[in-house]
């Protein structure tokens, strides 16, 4: 109920109802009064004229015929239907119309107003003069037809007012429908939008400008909402993707670390183990030479040698397993994306006080080799740079550039230059002379293997390139790795591999 009262429909209809309820009776009473007065005046006027007419006619009747003629005249008027009582009083004589036997109340005089008495008869008297003869004509008129006419007119008025009320009510209904229905539709659409159904365009068929405008504004809002929500969703999706990327990088980094740990462990164990296996193998083989080949001892020694060989291949397998990571084939590849991949890993492990500045825009020649080894170069050089800046923090710079200067690269040809610089503590020349040697480390026992830079050196040599270093104590260090362009390098590759064997 409250909903109805508060709704536009309810308000509009309520207002119309109240107006009709207040105005219709007033209107009716007013019009009815006018109608009644009008009819009454009409009645009184016509009755007076009529009675005057009767009096005039009677006055023309000669004296001696009066008795006989008067009755006829009265009867004539009575016959016309309006007069319900007619009487002439002449001294002692009274002449009555014969048709209506009405006996008038003796006390009543003439009426002044219509409907003065409840018997619905209007009495009027006239004095008849004929010479010196005087008589009084008294006529009674029936008021009831006029009463009926007034009632009928009032009835018409009532009907007209009712018709007006109904019509205004209908107009109100139509108006409220025209305004309220599009509003309701808009409201439903707004509710749907709030409920998440934002795809459907908002349309309202309405001829009312304000409603159309409102609808247009609402649809504009909806489109904005859709745009905003799509932007948000895209952002969320992008964030999920970048989070996924980060997790992937983290997983790869952890994998690498695990592999590196296994590799270090396996390397250490393998070293000890191989030292132990060496005398076992050699003594067994020496002893084999000293016993008859068909003896039981020879058979036992052969088994020892076989077992030692199995142990050796087991160590090889362990090391091969720890080498499993990124065992990509050698290929021609562009440096920039590979370096950027490795930098992504570096970013993941660098603390916040080390700023990483990468410039990999330069158009460098493609190189030949195993991209994972280039990862290794970048990781090792960056780890070294990080160690030099540990605690103090600083700037780690990576730069790619083209280089074809034989004075720097060592020989003619197109080279790609990978420069890794830090603003760390730098190195004394005495230290710098040894940095590429295996097991050389300035770090505490257990902190570094002393192999990082020798690994880099080894990889760079294998790829046919070279590495240089410049360092100023207290200022920083810059490593320059020169890797030859692919065509030249793919020719060099077999000889480098042989050199290793």
């Amino acid at each position: 109920m409250e909903r109805l009262i508060n709704s536009l429909h309810g308000r509009l209809l309520g207002v119309v109802l109240v107006i009709n309820a207040a105005l219709a009776p007033l209107l009716y009473l007013g019009v009815a009064a006018i109608v009644q007065d009008g009819y009454a005046e009409l009645f009184v006027n016509s009755v007076r004229s009529y009675s005057r007419l009767v009096a005039d006619q009677l006055e023309t009747v000669p004296e001696r015929e009066f008795e006989s003629r008067a009755k006829d005249v009265l009867d004539d008027f009575e016959l016309s239907g309006q007069v319900v009582f007619a009487e002439i009083t002449d001294g002692e004589r009274k002449v009555h119309g014969t048709i209506s036997p009405l006996v008038p109340p003796q006390q009543r005089g003439d009426d002044f107003h219509f409907g003065e008495h409840s018997d619905q008869v209007y009495y009027i008297s006239h004095t008849l003069k004929s010479g010196d003869h005087q008589a009084v004509l008294r006529l009674g008129f029936d008021e009831s037809p006029t009463f009926e006419r007034i009632a009928a007119a009032k009835h018409h008025v009532l009907r007209a007012i009712l018709a007006f009320a109904v019509a205004s009510f209908l107009v109100a209904l139509w108006l409220s429908a025209v305004i309220a229905r599009p509003m309701e539709r808009l409201q439903e659409a707004a509710k749907a939008i709030a409920g998440g159904e934002v795809r459907t365009a908002l349309e309202t068929q309405s001829s009312i400008r304000e409603v159309v405008d409102l609808s247009r504004h609402l649809d504009h809002m909806r489109r904005e909402l859709v745009g905003t929500s799509e932007r948000l969703q895209n952002e969320i999706r992008e964030r999920a993707v970048s989070e996924e990327k980060r997790l992937d990088l983290e997983r790869r980094l952890q994998h690498r670390e695990r592999i590196a740990t296994i590799g270090t462990l396996a390397g250490g164990v393998a070293h000890e183990f191989n030292n132990i296996m060496t005398p076992i193998l050699l003594y067994s083989q020496v002893a084999l030479d000293e016993v008859p080949t068909d003896s039981a001892v020879a058979a036992d020694l052969t088994r020892i040698v076989a077992a030692a060989h199995r142990a050796r291949s087991l160590v090889t397998r362990i090391l091969t397993f720890s080498r499993e990571m990124d065992s990509q084939q050698s290929a021609v590849f562009a440096l920039a994306p590979t370096v950027e991949e490795a930098v992504a890993l570096v970013r993941a492990i660098m603390p916040a006080n080390i700023e990483i500045v990468v410039d990999a825009r330069a158009d460098t020649v493609p190189v030949f080799g195993d991209p994972s080894l280039v990862h290794q170069i970048v990781l090792n050089l960056c780890t070294n740079a990080y160690q030099a800046m540990r605690g103090s923090g600083g700037r780690l710079g990576l730069r790619l550039a083209a280089s074809a200067d034989p004075a720097r690269t060592g020989r003619a040809g197109d080279f790609a230059l990978l420069e890794v610089s830090d603003t760390g503590h730098g190195m004394e020349p005495a230290v710098m002379a040894h940095i590429f040697e295996p097991f050389f480390t300035t770090r505490e026992v257990g902190e570094g293997t002393g192999l990082g830079l020798s690994v880099v050196h080894g990889i760079v040599s294998t790829m046919g390139g070279s590495i240089t270093v410049e360092s100023t104590p207290g200022v920083g260090t810059t490593f320059c790795v020169f890797l030859p362009g692919a065509p030249e390098q793919s020719q060099q590759q077999p000889s480098a591999a042989q050199d290793v064997a």
Partner: protein
Amino acid sequence: MASILVVDDEVEVGEAIRRVLTQAGFSCAVVTNAEAGLRAIDENPPDIVVTDVIMPKIHGLELCKILRSRYPRVRVIAISGGGSFGAQAYKPDAISTHAYLAAAREAGAQEILTKPFDLSDLLAAVRRQLPN
């Protein structure tokens, strides 16, 4: 008779090599560090030095370099324990063995052997480095 000096901080490894080489008819001495090795070489330069790479104080690479500069005629066979190497290119994890044996070559070693090596490999390497 060719003379060979073995330098290895692992006593058992040195002794086993001496056993093999003596058996094969070479004159063989064993020391367990590079300083002792250098003293022995100064006293009486051998034909061949078989040296381990990883040793305390002076490591095998240093020894190779000293021998190359002071005794260019002395042949050097570098030995080291570790993983596989060979035809495969540098790999990050096999790098240790590989790297220092490659470094030994650069430092002047004529032969490199990965422990544990077979008797036949050792003898073949020694024989390749003898003049006749």
